[in-house]
Amino acid sequence: MATSNMKLLCSVLNKMRIDHITTRSINSPPRFRPPYWYLPKERVMSDEMLTQENKDFLEEVKQDKLNLQNTLESPLIKSETQETLQWTPGTRRTGLIARKIGNYPLWSKDGKKFQTTLLQVVDNHVIKYIPPEEFKPMKTSKVVWKEKRKLGCLLVGSETIDPSTVTKEYCGLFNTVGMLPKRHLCRFMVSPQASLPTGTPLFATHFRVGDYVDVRAKTMDRGFQGVMKRWGFKGMPASHGVTKTHRRPGNIGAGGEKARVWPGTKMPGHMGNRWRTLRGVKILRINTKHNILWMLGVAIPGETGAMCYLFDTVLPLKKLKTPPPFPTHPPADDLPLEYYDDSIHLFEEPTITFEES
């Protein structure tokens, strides 16, 4: 009796169909797959109770590694094949990682003042080149109708740091290519002919004076801000019987059909600390010794000391017209200390005088 009942129950249960289950299958691919070099970098520092001798030994090893790194020659000097590569307007060169170090004025030859931002290119090295066939970024479900232009991926790092201060995984990323770990790592999509071998140093002379670049950086973090600061709303009067609504947004929508908050309504929230690109910034002056670029304008995002990424501009009218150093400027000792734009007045030149017309 009991077994027949069980069978009945089983058959009933078998016939039951459950639709619309939203379960997260283990095998479904994740929506976002970060690139493999996104590894935890910060390490919890702990006192390892080392003896002084051991500490000294570690220090010695670090110094040796650093010296080895410094004596590393640019692979561009050795290989003579670079001359054969030709720049065409369609090719995409690598970019640079720079640090914003402040701003000060320059004067033009007709006595006008320009505010400039100084960007320092600190210790940039090519870490790795991944050719387009091997480079598989995120998987998307979108159907690709048109075959895209194939671009390789060039990893560039800046600012060598002490290997003992970062995690093993992050360090291993650099160890596999024989470099010391870098503080900042950035991916640049480049054309295959613009690829660079590992360990190539990049300098400020990668760009020329008078070129236009795009600068990508994180804006200043302003925290949670109200609507007046974040979106420039006018607020409400300070007096005339206004109570408790001096800096508030007021109405945020209409009634009837639209009786809801429409997407994209400007509201209070977190302001700043997001990636923004300033396009078409002109280079006015380059210092080759300290690798400093003087950029026109003060609108480069971020505070003093923030990192930013420089690219050749994509603006159609400001794009490169003459061939730039391709794939990059090789290290040279006999460069002039400073390059100036034609419009810029040099400080060591005599005082500007105007001619009677």
């Binding site: 400093i292 003093t304 005082t351 500007i352 105007f354």
Partner: protein, 303 residues
């Protein structure tokens, strides 16, 4: 903090010296050397425990070489580049030592003017900014019309800066001259330069100006100005009470605030060691040049 105190004491001493010397000269024609000896004797007991560093005195002569103390804007490399550019500009033009209260004549090349040059004479009422952004403001009353012009110190269109009268006033900013009677800032445009004998300290002019009746541009009574004589005449009881309420006597004891406002002495000495030699060389070469010029000018007059 101690720097500030020392500065103020030194200023007071200087003022006292100046008055004292004036009186002396009226009475006798003693040579100046004896006075200097007396001064030094006076100074030594009054000095603070911190050792006296002559190189730090440059901060009054070249204040724009010190960077902005705001830590958010500091960067040693940028400051270095800026100083190098400033020295390059200084090698082209003689930017003399001047203070707020000195009378200057500035010649600029002006594309709008008729002869493409423009000259303005006035008293320096404000000096601000650091590095290449340093600027100063000149004020004068021309044809009974008060005029102020702001100049940048390192602007390449400035042809020359001439100090007509080198002196200091009792305050750091003379913005109250805007509300003062016009005779206190009226200077003829063809003023002759007054040459101080070499080696004398910069005199402090203890003149106290008279303000016009209210309304004023600012509440001068709250700023503890030393160079204004008749401020009490124009005040009402209400203003006096509110001045008392708004006073911040504790601020001079706020060590952190003073520290944040100033560049520490160690950093300053680093900066001065970097630029001092070049500045000194420029000074010496300029002096030689000017001596040559003074020798040659009478000859031309004779011819």
């Amino acid at each position: 903090m101690s720097l500030v105190i020392r500065k103020s004491t030194v200023e007071i001493l200087c003022a006292a010296k100046w008055i004292f010397r004036r009186d002396c000269r009226l009475l006798s024609t003693l040579p100046e050397k004896t006075e200097i000896v007396v001064d030094e004797k006076e100074r030594i007991p009054g000095r603070k425990t911190r050792s006296y560093n002559p190189i730090l005195e440059n901060r009054h002569v070249y204040p724009e070489f010190l960077p902005d103390p705001n830590p958010n804007w500091r960067n040693s490399l940028r400051e270095k580049m800026e100083r190098a550019d400033m020295l390059k500009r200084r090698s082209q033009i003689d930017i003399p030592e001047f203070y707020v209260g000195s009378i200057l004549a500035v010649t600029i090349s002006d594309p709008h003017a008729q002869g493409k040059t423009n000259r303005f004479v006035g008293i320096c009422i404000e000096r601000k900014g650091c590095g290449l952004r340093a600027e100063f403001t000149l004020r004068n009353v021309v044809d009974h019309q008060g005029i102020e012009v702001r100049y940048e110190l390192y602007d390449p269109t400035i042809q020359s800066i001439q100090v007509l009268r080198l002196e200091k006033r009792l305050d750091d900013k003379l913005l109250y001259l805007r509300d003062a009677l016009p005779e206190y800032c009226t200077f003829p445009l063809d003023m002759d330069p007054e040459i101080l004998p070499e080696g004398t300290p910069v005199p402090i002019n203890p003149v106290q100006v008279k303000l016009k009746p209210r309304p004023w541009l600012e509440r001068w009574e709250r700023q503890e100005l030393k160079g204004v004589s008749n401020i009490e005449e124009h005040l009402k009881e209400k203003d006096r009470v509110r001045r008392e309420l708004r006073k911040t006597p504790w601020e001079k004891y706020d060590l952190m605030k003073n520290y944040r406002k100033t560049i520490p002495a160690e950093e300053q000495s680093e900066i001065w060691n970097e630029v001092y030699n070049q500045l000194q060389q420029m000074r010496v070469s300029r002096k030689k040049m000017s001596r040559k010029r003074t020798v040659t000018t009478p000859k031309t007059q004779l011819a």
